[in-house]
């Protein structure tokens, strides 16, 4: 090993160390800054209590529920849609449809979230208000539609990647035994790509939980337990954006770092799950 090589390795290694320190330091910051709360409240109090700062209650359960509800619901909407789109792209549609659809889906990954929110404020909120006659129109449903639309393109592309990784011999065998494209897709491709599909879903879940702007602009931000999709609710992310304004010494301020921790843990669990599934999928197909 030459001196130059050792030097290069050292410099690159140092940079990698810096980069790898970032996810850790984010977590450490969250924990340290949330600490004032832990001295007067137990973790269960914080995670299962209601949010009434004037009465000294800093529970984030309503926000957690709203976040999970919104993310799971938008996943439930986006999953079949993405599966269908990925199916079309995989070959259920003629190339004249497939190629433009693929391009469009790729471009859609670049749509700014704030633009989704913006269009939602002026199109969706009045529509929901007039259609359901329930509240101001700022509710979980109004956030659900653009959020599911936002995660669909990435999910579709993940699914397409997973389908493309299905070994060719399996496809040929299916065709040879007389399966038509739809049968092949449903009975062969989807089952063999299931780990890839799961990984894509988990990551999209992380993305839906982590989105701030759509919920902040469209969900209404009432800090209480959501009891339906037509009610104004506040997600964890919107909560952080709203409460950041509080006194830096206050417990309210500390509580947004608890929200940050919960979000961090949720999304990193999603990332870890997806990584394991992906590793398993690679072993399976390789």
């Amino acid at each position: 090993m030459t001196r130059r090589e050792r030097l290069t390795r050292k410099i690159l290694g140092a940079a990698t160390l810096c980069a790898a320190a970032l996810p850790l330091s984010i977590l450490i910051f969250m924990v340290v800054l949330a600490r004032p709360l832990f001295s007067s409240f137990s973790v269960t109090d914080l995670l299962t209590g209601t949010w009434e700062p004037l009465q000294g209650r800093y529970g984030i359960l309503p926000m957690m529920t709203a976040s999970l509800l919104l993310a799971l619901a938008s996943l439930a909407v986006a999953f079949p849609v993405s599966l269908g789109c990925a199916g079309l792209i995989f070959g259920l549609a003629p190339p004249v449809v497939t190629v433009p659809l693929r391009r469009l889906v790729q471009l859609m990954t670049g749509f700014p979230t704030v633009v989704y929110g913006f269009v939602g404020v002026f199109v969706l909120v009045p529509a929901v208000r007039d259609l359901f006659q329930a509240g101001s129109g700022r509710c979980l449903l109004s956030a659900l539609v653009p959020l599911s639309l936002m995660i669909t393109p990435t999910m579709t592309l993940f699914f397409s990647d997973a389908f493309a990784a299905v070994p060719r011999p399996i496809l040929l065998a299916a065709t040879a035994s007389g399966a038509d494209p739809v049968q092949r897709f449903v009975w062969v491709v989807i089952p063999s790509a299931r780990r890839g599909l799961a990984a894509g879903m988990v990551l999209s879940f992380g993305r839906a939980v982590g989105d701030t702007l759509i919920a902040l602009m469209l969900a209404g931000n009432a800090a209480r337990m959501p009891s339906g999709f037509l009610e104004s609710s506040r997600t964890l992310t919107a909560h952080v954006a709203l409460v950041i304004a509080a006194d830096f010494q206050s417990l309210e301020f500390a509580s947004i770092f608890v929200c940050g921790m919960v979000l961090y843990v949720l999304t990193s669990c999603a990332a870890l799950c997806a990584w394991r599934m992906r590793a398993a999928a690679e072993r399976y197909s390789g």
């Binding site: 290069t8 690159l12 940079a15 990698t16 810096c18 980069a19 790898a20 970032l22 996810p23 330091s25 984010i26 910051f29 969250m30 079949p80 849609v81 269908g84 789109c85 199916g87 079309l88 659809l101 391009r103 469009l104 471009l107 990954t109 670049g110 749509f111 700014p112 979230t113 704030v114 633009v115 913006f118 269009v119 404020v121 002026f122 639309l149 990435t154 592309l157 993940f158 397409s160 990647d161 739809v182 990551l203 993305r207 939980v209 982590g210 989105d211 701030t212 602009m217 992310t237 952080v240 954006a241 947004i256 770092f257 940050g260 979000l263 961090y264 999304t267 990193s268 870890l272 990584w275």
Partner: protein
């Protein structure tokens, strides 16, 4: 007969899904274009001031998007200037110098980082700026530099993954040619591997630019303000396009302000979509894993 029915239903379902996505995209783009296009004029950018005076005369612009556009530009430039060296170095290290357990652990680390929601990254940036404020100088606070640093964290995983996957995709025969001709590994890296994977790296950087220009949650917590003018210092608060859109959508004070908001939405949509289009065109087969970002 029954089987044919069932298959047709699946196919129809797929087409319905495709139709839903296309109509969603058309709704978003159509709305932005219909409402925004009539207002995309020099007046949208510069308000009452003439373009020449604003660009070269240093005249402050009040009723236009110009300060927000410049703010976003600086923000993107700063974030990418920070993310590019760090991300490239890390990507190269992961692809060329690490293997086995270490590589696996590092990959997981960056997967976790890629999944951290942008509002949490913003919160981190905000606490760092408070720390600087208390420890270093009371003049420091949320500002352009802090926002660029936070955005750097946001887009770093993009750059790392794009670099790593581009390098790992270099074919074996290319990889060993220079080595067999007597080049050392560093020369091989600098003159063969990196040029060969240039397109992949470039697409990663373009996506990073797109995400920086688009993200709102991070800057919301790290120093964006309603009125600041064209930024003059890295330590000042700043204006930015995505924040302007957010601000206008919830609290426009006049029809003119709302029109500017529509114009801003169209501009931002156009900019990020073209960045993504170029990124995909630069490297068609870029794995979508590399593009994932919460």
């Amino acid at each position: 007969m029954k089987r044919g029915c069932w298959e047709r239903a699946v196919r129809c379902g797929c087409y319905a899904a495709g139709f839903w996505v296309v109509s969603g995209a058309v709704a978003v783009v159509g709305f932005a274009v219909r409402q925004g296009a009539p207002h995309v004029t020099p007046k949208l950018l510069f308000g009452g001031v003439s373009a020449r005076e604003a660009l070269f005369g240093g005249a402050p612009v009040f009723d236009g998007l110009w300060p927000a556009v410049v703010g976003t530009f600086y923000l993107v430039a700063g974030a990418v200037a920070l993310a590019a060296p760090l991300g490239l170095a890390t990507g190269i290290y992961l692809a060329e110098f690490s293997r086995g357990r270490l590589k696996e652990v590092l990959t997981v680390f960056f997967d976790v980082l890629a999944g951290v929601p942008s509002v949490v990254v913003g919160l981190f940036g905000f606490s760092v700026s408070l720390l600087l404020h208390k420890m270093v100088s009371p003049r420091l606070g949320p500002c352009l530099l802090v926002a660029a640093f936070s955005l750097m964290i946001l887009v770093l995983p993009y750059v790392i993954r794009a670099t790593q996957s581009a390098l790992e995709g270099v074919p074996q025969e290319v990889r060993i040619t220079a080595l067999s001709l007597g080049a050392d590994p560093v020369q091989n890296l600098a003159w063969v591997l990196i040029p060969h994977s240039f397109r992949g790296i470039a697409s990663g950087l373009l996506l990073a630019v797109g995400r920086c220009a688009e993200d709102t949650a991070v800057i919301l917590l790290t120093g964006v303000v309603v009125t600041a003018g064209v930024p003059r210092s890295l330590l000042d608060p700043f204006e930015a396009l995505p924040f302007y859109i957010y601000y206008v959508s919830t609290q426009y004070a006049s029809p003119e302000e709302l029109e500017r908001g529509f114009g801003a939405a169209l501009i931002l949509l156009g900019v990020s979509v073209s960045l993504f289009a170029v990124a995909y065109a630069v490297r068609r087969a870029v794995g979508h894993w590399a593009l994932y970002r919460a």
